[in-house]
Amino acid sequence: MEKKTKVQAGEGRQDILITREFDLPVELLFKAYTQPEIVAEWMGTKVVKLENKKHGSWQFETSDPQGNVVFTAAGTIHDIIPNEKIVRTFQMAAPGFDAQLEFLEFEALTASTSKLNMLIVYKSVAHRDQQLRLPFAMGLNMAHERLQTIASRLQ
């Protein structure tokens, strides 16, 4: 089966292009990006603020089951055209991360299918590669922490 989500990240470049086709009308795809409670559901985060307008701002906050905030991200919306595009900045509130610029293009393929092109531009090649590696690094970290928990129990 062909992979639905594609990632293009050329060597030595500071951008990433993520593309995905959906079995959804473009209106519903766009809605998934603009309705706070829906964003919260699929992103798995609390949507503190989401102003869907030119020069509006947004803020996400994720907590662990104990209620400690483990992740916050925020940015501003530079441009928004319903069912067509969103241009926004995104920044994770963590040391070493800088702002990234995101161009989201929503495209109707048929009445019931659509496509999303998400171009993300980073400050540098190093910043981009750091973001690309994050999911892999997090996976290994989790395994490592688990191993340490196990090891401490054995002592």
């Binding site: 089966m1 992979k3 639905k4 989500t5 594609k6 990632v7 990240a9 993520i18 995905r20 959906f22 079995d23 959804l24 009308p25 519903l28 795809l29 809605k31 998934a32 829906i38 559901e41 699929w42 992103m43 999303l116 590669d129 973001q131 690309l132 590696r133 994050l134 999911p135 892999f136 996976g139 290994l140 989790m142 395994a143 490592h144 688990r146 191993l147 196990i150 054995l154």
Partner: protein, 105 residues
């Protein structure tokens, strides 16, 4: 069959990642590996089988004992850092698609 994807499904499980980390420093028998986990022995065996099937682990006969060790060639493949990133977005978008199906009238 897409072997590459199987590798990433294999490492999606925290116990299996912990096994890989455990074997990073030395080859071990199934019994020695299982001793590091609270999980039942057959569960650990199942994890070892999956890791072996997707070639992340190799088995080596050592007298009467079978030792498990990392397959460096395959481990290098998972060091390809783009795939977990793609997988993360694919999971998110799958969720988005599922959620939005409800809104279809």
């Amino acid at each position: 069959m897409n072997l590459r994807r199987d590798v990433f499904q294999a490492i999606a499980d925290p116990t299996r990642r912990a096994i890989l980390l455990l074997l990073a420093s030395q080859a071990m028998t199934a019994g020695a590996i299982a001793a590091n986990f609270d999980t039942a022995r057959p569960t650990v065996s199942k994890h070892l089988q999956i890791l072996t099937e997707c070639e992340l682990l190799k088995q080596e006969q050592n007298g009467r004992e079978v030792h498990y060790q990392l397959n460096p060639h395959k481990m290098k493949e998972i060091a390809d850092f783009i795939e977990p990133f793609r997988q993360m977005w694919d999971d998110r978008f799958n969720k988005l698609e599922d959620i939005m199906q409800k809104y279809k009238s």
